[in-house]
């Protein structure tokens, strides 16, 4: 075998296109962002003396508050979704039988409609004279205030948009709990709650954790929900980043904010993913 073939076994060769692409399309832009964050504010060229001004500004301004809001909202979304999705995941893996595929399709479908369209649907639902208030008014004569433009509705929007991202990894996790192990636990005298605590939860944990991670990371990058549904009652960090890049024409600041976000996300992802054997989760025999 030629040394080149030895150096690049078939697996590595197949991986090259993807890796090269990600190098140019993912790694490079992120490196560019990091580079830009060290450049003086409101400038556009990279060839300048490096400075930490941008980072200082973040901590002096209220940007770190919006950052915390983003993290908080994302965390709240994760917790709410965990509670909502677990029963469904359990159902998909154990209860629904031949209906499981159809139900999965029903949950997959919204993913393919862009988020702003779906969120607009909620506006139509909650707006004054919209579906909800309109019906209440015509049926019961109630004239209520619209729930729109509140923190609560922002959260609703986020829960709505990110539901599939919690549901599918969780379902994968639940399906990893062997039925016979559960039956054995029952057989040994455990109550339903004990089976849940001792068998279901620990064995489904890989899927659950991935669901948490994916939902959190994506939710931290949410912007449309707060803008449209929440009337900007809360400003998430993504909004600050967007403004910096567009209206404020302050790329270095935007870059610095992005770097902070990337650090949080990156740290979480690496921490979690490194402990997982993806082969067994995704179904290798």
């Amino acid at each position: 075998m030629s040394t080149l073939a030895k150096l690049f076994p078939p697996g590595a060769r197949q991986a090259l296109p993807v890796l090269l692409f990600l190098l140019c399309g993912f790694v490079a832009p992120l490196l560019a962002v990091i580079a830009y964050s060290f450049v003086p504010p409101r400038t556009f060229s990279l060839w300048q003396p490096w400075t930490l001004e941008n980072y200082v500004e973040i901590f002096n301004s209220s940007s770190y508050i919006t950052f915390l809001w983003s993290l908080g909202l994302a965390a709240a979304t994760v917790i709410i979704l965990a509670l909502i999705c677990y029963p469904i995941a359990f159902g998909l893996a154990r209860v629904f039988g031949r209906w499981a595929t159809l139900i999965t399709l029903l949950f997959t479908l919204p993913l393919f409609v862009s988020e702003n369209v779906r969120i607009y649907g909620w506006i139509l639902f909650f707006i004054k004279n919209g579906v909800l208030l309109g019906s209440l008014k015509s049926m019961f004569g109630w004239e209520l205030e619209s729930a729109l433009f509140t923190v609560g509705l922002t959260l609703l929007g986020m829960v709505y948009v990110y539901l599939p991202f919690m549901l599918f990894p969780m379902t994968l996790g639940v399906s990893m709990v062997p039925q016979q192990t559960r039956e054995a636990a029952f057989d040994l005298g455990a109550t339903r709650w004990q089976v849940f605590k001792e068998v279901d939860l620990p064995l489904a944990m890989p899927g659950i954790i991935i669901g948490f991670l994916l939902t959190f990371v994506l939710a931290v990058g949410a912007i449309v929900e707060s803008k449209v549904l929440g009337g900007q009652r809360i400003i998430p960090i993504t909004h600050d980043i967007e403004i910096a890049f567009t209206y404020a024409q302050n790329w270095p600041l935007g870059a610095a904010l992005s770097v902070l976000l990337m650090l949080v996300v990156g740290a979480l992802v690496l921490l979690v993913l490194r402990r997982f054997d993806l082969d067994s989760i995704l179904g290798r025999r």
Partner: protein, 272 residues
């Protein structure tokens, strides 16, 4: 093992799930209702039912342009993504090679990443490279996210692929290319079709990445966003409903295609 306690739980789970499904489709329902009124503003309950706005929307040249842009963008993304992801998936799930576990994590990174930040980072990068934004750059941007997703989807099919099949074909005298054509591709076909479906639909409906990287070209989601912010137009619910129904149709067709492919190739003819 079924007793009344079990039945109660099952009923609870079913009820809960159905409630959540209704929740998931309330926006779609609202969109549909809003699109079926002929009046300019949305008032519920609907006084004037009519499909006027459907007519007006599809007659619009602007809307047709949007469909074209979104369509070609999605088409290019799908074609490129499927080819690269196919090999990526083989590397992901099949061959044992040294960097594989690191590779798996790297491939997943763009998925576990806030899209808005990715879009903005790409905007920065393209500008630094001096590129003008158009739907071409949007193709590239979409691919950064969609190639990993596609790789993952195809990998799931690759995991259940018995490598002995390729070895057997090779042993029976096939060249490497013949093995690929006669065995690898047909057996992986359901996964490849699923991957293509995901790629197309995710690109079609994508907003954050398109927003920052498509430049002067506008995709459907971008247009809808602008209209949403600006004020109420009945055109938005129409297009929103079309989007939902269209996606539903494609998913259904794709699902049928995958099921048929899985059933196995053999037909009455013997000669291939």
């Amino acid at each position: 093992m079924e007793n009344s306690g079990d039945r109660a739980w099952r009923a609870l789970i079913w009820t809960w799930t159905l409630a959540v499904i209704v929740f998931m489709y309330l926006p779609a329902l609202s969109l549909f209702l809003a699109s079926s009124t002929s009046s300019r503003y949305f008032m519920f309950p609907i006084q004037k039912w009519g499909l006027d706005w459907w007519q007006k929307t599809f007659a619009s040249l602007e809307v047709r342009q949007l469909f074209e842009t979104s369509f070609f963008l999605a088409l290019w993304v799908t074609m490129i993504a499927v080819v690269i992801a196919l090999f990526g998936a083989l590397a992901f799930a099949r061959y044992d090679w040294k960097g594989r576990s690191a590779y798996q994590k790297i491939v997943l990174l763009p998925i576990f990443f806030p899209q808005t930040v990715l879009g903005l980072a790409l905007l920065l990068w393209f500008n630094a490279l001096g590129l003008t934004m158009s739907w071409h750059t949007a193709v590239f941007a979409h691919l950064v996210w969609i190639i990993p997703v596609c790789t993952l989807v195809i990998s799931i099919q690759v995991y259940s692929f018995d490598p002995a099949l390729e070895e057997a074909a090779f042993d029976l005298g096939a060249t490497r290319w013949q093995v690929f054509r006669e065995v690898t591709l047909p057996v992986l076909a359901p996964g490849i079709v699923s991957g293509a479906l995901f790629a197309f639909l995710l690109s079609w409906g994508n907003f954050p990445l398109s927003l920052y990287t498509s430049g002067a070209d506008t995709t459907l989601p971008e247009y809808l966003y602008a209209k949403m912010i600006a004020g109420y137009t009945p055109g938005v619910p129409v297009l929103g409903t079309v989007s939902t129904l269209g996606a539903g149709l494609i998913v259904l067709l794709g699902y049928l295609a995958v099921v048929l492919l899985r059933r196995g190739g053999s037909t009455a003819k013997s000669a291939d």
